[in-house]
């Protein structure tokens, strides 16, 4: 709690509410929950005064606003920080309004209330719009959607996203993949990452997207997988490709350069 709030607290006895506070004391708690934020509270105070926001009597509103939030604090309401920020803003505007206008050759000085009034106007638009939407018919409150039971006999239709040809293709790809468990005596030097990068590039020049397993050769075994993976990482690191892994766990190599050129 800041010091000014404490100071004011000493002057206001919560049980003796100031006479110019517009909210009935017993309704305070309800009101607090009703306000959606400092702008809403400010709007409420302005409306109670029955003045136009553009004639905002900043001194009066500021005093009421500060009294109000002091009171809420004294009643141990948890106040959102924004309420205090608004109090500070109001106090600042109030003090500016009290100063004599500074002579300025270039242009007339801006009314310190303008920014606040703009915010209030903007807020008011959506406060009203929210009210308008609230008063529209809502499903299951104001109108109802009809639905009927399903027939006793239900034929569930199966829709399958593959056929026997797809299955054969998958089988073929599985068989062409190197057996990771087999150990092939292939020297690492025989497989160059650079060559593999060129190989991947050559495929990507024809198609944009390449399944990782398609970069593998059966005879290369585990080492081939490592080399292909290193090549793919190298390409990704240099920003030539994106590596994509979707739910199927298959890694895809997606060209970034070729795609741009083509597209």
């Amino acid at each position: 709690m800041n010091s000014s709030a404490n100071q004011n607290l000493n002057q206001i006895n919560p049980s003796e509410l100031p006479s110019d506070l517009f909210i009935p004391p017993n309704a305070l708690e309800i009101c607090l929950e009703t306000f959606t934020g400092p702008l809403d509270l400010l709007w409420y105070l302005i409306k109670k005064q029955n003045i136009d926001i553009l004639d905002l009597e900043i001194a009066k509103i500021t005093d009421q606003y500060i009294e109000y939030i002091d009171l809420m604090e004294s009643l141990n309401f948890e106040l959102a920080a924004e309420y205090l920020v608004m109090a500070a803003t109001l106090a600042e505007i109030k003090s500016k309004m009290l100063l004599p206008p500074i002579e300025n050759d270039d242009e007339t000085e801006e009314d310190p209330r303008v920014a606040l009034i703009e915010r209030l106007k903007q807020y008011k638009i959506f406060k009203e719009a929210a009210g308008n939407i609230s008063s529209m018919p809502l499903v299951n409150d104001d109108f109802y959607v009809a639905s009927a039971g399903r027939p006793k006999v239900q034929k569930i239709q199966k829709v399958i996203n593959f056929d026997s040809y797809k299955l054969a293709q998958v089988m073929q790809e599985v068989l062409e993949r190197p057996k990771l468990k087999d150990s092939h005596k292939i020297d690492f030097e025989e497989l160059s990452t650079q060559e593999r990068i060129e190989f991947i590039f050559s495929i990507l020049s024809k198609k944009n997207l390449l399944g990782f397993y398609k970069t593998l050769r059966h005879s290369e075994g585990k080492i081939g997988v490592v080399v292909s993976f290193l090549a793919a990482l190298e390409l990704a690191k240099n920003g030539y490709v994106d590596l994509i892994q979707n739910e199927s766990r298959e890694i895809y190599i997606k060209s970034k350069i070729i795609g741009d050129q083509v597209g």
């Binding site: 959606t36 009034i117 719009a129 308008n132």
Partner: protein
């Protein structure tokens, strides 16, 4: 004019009453075409007209909303049904303000909403609106932190019995009222 057989009317009526969601004309076509040879969209529209006609004296009416067509209970019977649904939906004003800002200013970030409302938007409100399927994340804005941008959904429009976002009431034009005062007060806008 093609003669409409009753079985087609009944099938589409049954689709509408069991789908559990509104159906568009082309969705209905696809559902029908899984079974039979192609049926034209025009014929489906015509059949929907027949369904509307058929229910002239029943409790139902055909309604078109954002996600398609559905059968609803006629408005005049709503009052009698309220005993079945005694709990009215209670939506807080904070939630409605947030929803209104998303609806009229979409796509917006949480920061945009906070700028207008002057107060933090609680995660609870956003979660609540997402749960109702009234809003969804449409993307991320290219600003620091890449905040999510929110838009309203078709379900939001469906639940308000609307077809498109422009069916919402126009934004209140408070400038208009205030115009005269602004002019006399000072000729400048912040």
């Amino acid at each position: 004019m093609i003669k409409l057989d009753k079985s087609l009317i009944n099938t589409i009526e049954a689709f509408l009453l069991t789908a559990g969601r509104p159906l568009t004309v082309s969705e209905i076509r696809d559902l029908l075409n899984e079974k039979e040879e192609s049926i034209e969209l025009g014929k489906i529209r015509q059949t929907l007209g027949e369904i509307e006609e058929r229910h002239r004296n029943t409790s139902l009416c055909l309604s078109e909303v954002a996600s398609g067509f559905r059968l609803q209970v006629k408005d005049e019977l709503s009052e009698s049904l309220s005993s079945l649904w005694s709990e009215k939906t209670r939506l807080s004003r904070s939630l409605m303000e947030t929803l209104a800002i998303i609806a009229y200013r979409q796509p917006v970030t949480r920061g945009d909403i906070e700028d207008i409302r002057g107060v933090q938007v609680s995660t609870k409100i956003i979660r609540n609106l997402l749960d109702k399927n009234w809003i969804k994340i449409s993307g991320h804005r290219d600003t620091p932190g890449r905040p999510a941008t929110y838009v309203t959904t078709k379900t939001f429009l469906d639940d308000l019995n609307l077809t498109r976002i422009s069916d919402l009431p126009e934004l209140p034009d408070i400038e208009q009222e205030d115009q005269t005062i602004i002019n006399t007060d000072q000729a400048q806008t912040g």
